[in-house]
């Protein structure tokens, strides 16, 4: 996998949801695309979510990739947003695109859970397995930016954390 040798920086981006006292909501979105066997999506808003265990996305994108979700690698029931959803998992390639030059990207494979009927803003939820295990991600609401860099960067900065 090609990893960012220097941190790739992305400004926080506005979410159309108005959830905080009428103030605009800014989130750590990064541009990602999904690909498999010659098919790929255009760049999509990927929401960095440290509280999510997996990568989840809309089943609407499965058609775009020509995926048959009936032939999946497993199904899981997830509780999100006060309701439950079923995610059907398939391993696909993910691409993280550089903010300044989208042709620069790094690519890796990960299981992605396709959720029925999910159509809200931020079409890809980037959780721990498949994204946060691939990079060191630093998000700062104060700085209004998110940095994605080599996954060893945290150990380099702080040393190996012992349990």
């Amino acid at each position: 996998m090609a990893e960012p040798k220097t941190p790739w920086l992305y400004p926080y981006r506005e979410d159309p949801q108005q959830t905080r006292l009428g103030q605009p909501v800014f989130r750590p979105f990064v541009p990602v695309s999904l690909a498999i066997e010659g098919a790929s999506t255009p760049e999509l808003e990927g929401l960095v979510d440290t509280g999510a265990d997996a990568i989840l996305t809309s089943d609407l994108l499965a058609d775009e990739l020509g995926l048959d979700l009936a032939d999946n690698e497993g199904e899981e029931l997830h509780a999100v947003g006060g309701r439950t959803v079923i995610a059907r998992y398939k391993t696909v390639s993910l691409r993280l695109h550089h903010h300044g030059d989208p042709s620069i990207r790094c690519e890796w494979e990960a299981p992605v859970g396709f959720v029925d009927g999910w159509h809200s803003f931020g079409l890809v939820l980037l959780g721990n397995v498949g994204f946060l295990d691939q990079f060191t991600v630093t998000a700062s609401r104060f700085s209004q930016a998110v940095a994605v860099e080599d996954r060893n960067s945290l150990d380099d900065r702080f040393g190996v954390v012992m349990a």
Binding site: R13, Q17, L44, P102, H119, Q144
Partner: protein
């Protein structure tokens, strides 16, 4: 620092979503401006393929729609 927490040195990318409620949108990553909008996600995805610096966001909710904390 401004009241909304926007600092002077780095500004988040703002987008004016008014008028796009109920539609899927794609925005320019450099300006935040909506450049594609349609009620059919497939149309937005297809058009986005042909443009650089464009990212497909998703569907803009109506003001009176319930907002989910996670997936919506």
């Amino acid at each position: 620092m401004e009241a909304a927490g926007i600092i002077d040195c780095v500004k988040p990318t703002r987008t004016d979503f008014k008028g796009y409620e109920g539609k899927y949108v794609a925005t320019d990553t450099r300006t935040g401006q909506v450049v594609i909008a349609d009620e059919d996600l497939k149309v937005v995805l297809e058009k986005a393929r042909q443009l650089d610096h464009v990212v497909v966001g998703g569907r803009v909710p109506y003001a009176d729609e319930p907002i989910y904390v996670g997936l919506g």
